[in-house]
Symmetry: C2
Subunit: 272 residues, 2 copies
């Protein structure tokens, strides 16, 4: 019984993840029967796209093969408790929430986490989106894996603790990198230099770690141990404590990684 | 006299920049007549690719329309002094070295800085590489601009001080981002999670700032002010002072940027 193929799906949520995942499922031949969403506007728009029925409560559903809860992290436990015990498997799409949050819905629950940053207005090639799955039992893992493999080239069984590390790694590699892009943007804007000049280099940097390790791909004055450029840079930002802290932290870490025998405090000893 | 079109070029250096720039020049119809390089092996390989003559000293050159010194930052002043006063314009390709370093070569000198990270083994679409130019006089600026426009879609007149800011911005946006990729790599490797899972997200993050500002593109727990995820992350890295410092620095900056009324020290007060 638990081993039959998943065909019909009830989708909870109508945000970016629900939209992109719903469209990918529809294109792969699944039948998204329901879109459940509090907000009627987004809900009906997505339901129409997916040729699904728009509903506002769990009582309006006829049992699907799978329910996917694609809502914000905070709302997942709320939804799970509202749903309560049910006879179909339930998964969420979060990178951080433990799968056990869904155990209130019955014995078949899990995670179906597409590891990508979705924007409402931007097409996504779902084949390239890694999907991390996990479930409360091996039968459901197998069924989720079948679904995931029909959507994406990259499917990985990742348990709760590994999924948390993956999410933390994504925060470092992506959220924090984006913040660095913002610093660069502001530095350039203050000096009437178009940010566009930097875009090819930003993209090349992100592409390079596809083909070589970040350790090998590292470039720049700290990697080279180029004291005179580092000194110039510290002089340029000496009145900006925020930039100074980030510059020194990274430069010192990189100097150490590449076995240079000095640190920024040897160059600008007055700070920290 | 100074306004004639540049056709013949002498290239000093045979590293990545010299190679990619030399090939782009050749493909655009310029005649690279000489490759001057200390190391004979690299020098002859590049000279052959460019159908140029390989030479080891400035005395072996017949006056070119332009000399491009594409060597490491440290070697540029050395080369300029060795060359001494000459009757043709001389430019370097560095993001950090002042153009005046070349003033020992005569009145016509400047900068021809392709803003990209070149790898010896990787093809580059030079049309997409921004070229920053500058020169000691407007006639030479015009001539360099003609050359640059025949190689690239993006050409910008950037003086020494702006070029230094551009380079500093590139260090933040690219060198430091690459270091963050390395942190993510190590976090994943320690937990047997394939780094490949993160690559699409890294690339999407770098692509997003093409179409929207980094401020608008920011995502993640700090942007949302998600205390419980931030607390989890701090717990996960509490024994790693290096990661903790970076995590707290970025998280506090992002929290502030998006007007959240708390900082990581409210969550983990024992640190710093």
């Amino acid at each position: 019984m638990g081993e039959s193929r998943i065909i019909t799906i009830a989708l909870v949520g109508a945000g970016s993840v629900a939209t992109h995942l719903g469209l990918a499922l529809k294109n792969a031949g699944y039948k998204v029967e329901y879109v459940l969403n509090r907000g009627a506007e987004r809900g009906t728009v997505l339901a129409e796209k997916l040729e699904a029925r728009y509903v506002t409560g769990f009582d309006q559903l006829v049992k699907p093969d799978l329910m996917i809860i694609a809502v914000s992290d905070d709302a997942i436990p709320v939804m799970a408790r509202q749903l309560g015990l049910c006879t179909f498997p339930v998964v969420h799409t979060s990178g951080t929430i433990a799968k056990e949050v869904l155990s209130v819905t019955g014995p078949d629950y899990g995670v179906f986490y597409p590891l990508q940053s979705f924007s409402p207005d931007k097409e996504v090639d779902f084949l390239k989106v890694p999907i991390c799955i996990d479930a409360s039992n091996t039968a459901l893992i197998q069924r989720l894996e079948d679904v995931a493999r029909s959507l994406s080239q990259t499917v990985c069984l990742i348990d709760d603790s590994k999924r948390k590390i993956l999410h933390l790694a994504a925060v470092f590699a992506c959220n924090f990198s984006n913040y660095l892009y913002g610093i660069a943007h502001d530095l350039l804007a203050e000096n009437d230099i178009p940010f566009e000049l930097l875009l090819p280099l930003i993209q090349e940097t992100a592409m390079k770690v596809q083909v070589r390790s970040a350790f090998d791909a590292q470039t720049g004055p700290a990697k080279r141990g180029d004291v005179s450029t580092i000194r110039q840079h510290l002089d340029m930002i000496q009145n900006d404590p925020k930039l100074l802290k980030i510059y020194k932290t990274f430069t010192d870490n990189i100097l150490k990684t590449y076995s240079h025998q000095f640190s920024t405090s040897d160059i600008h000893p007055e700070e920290e």
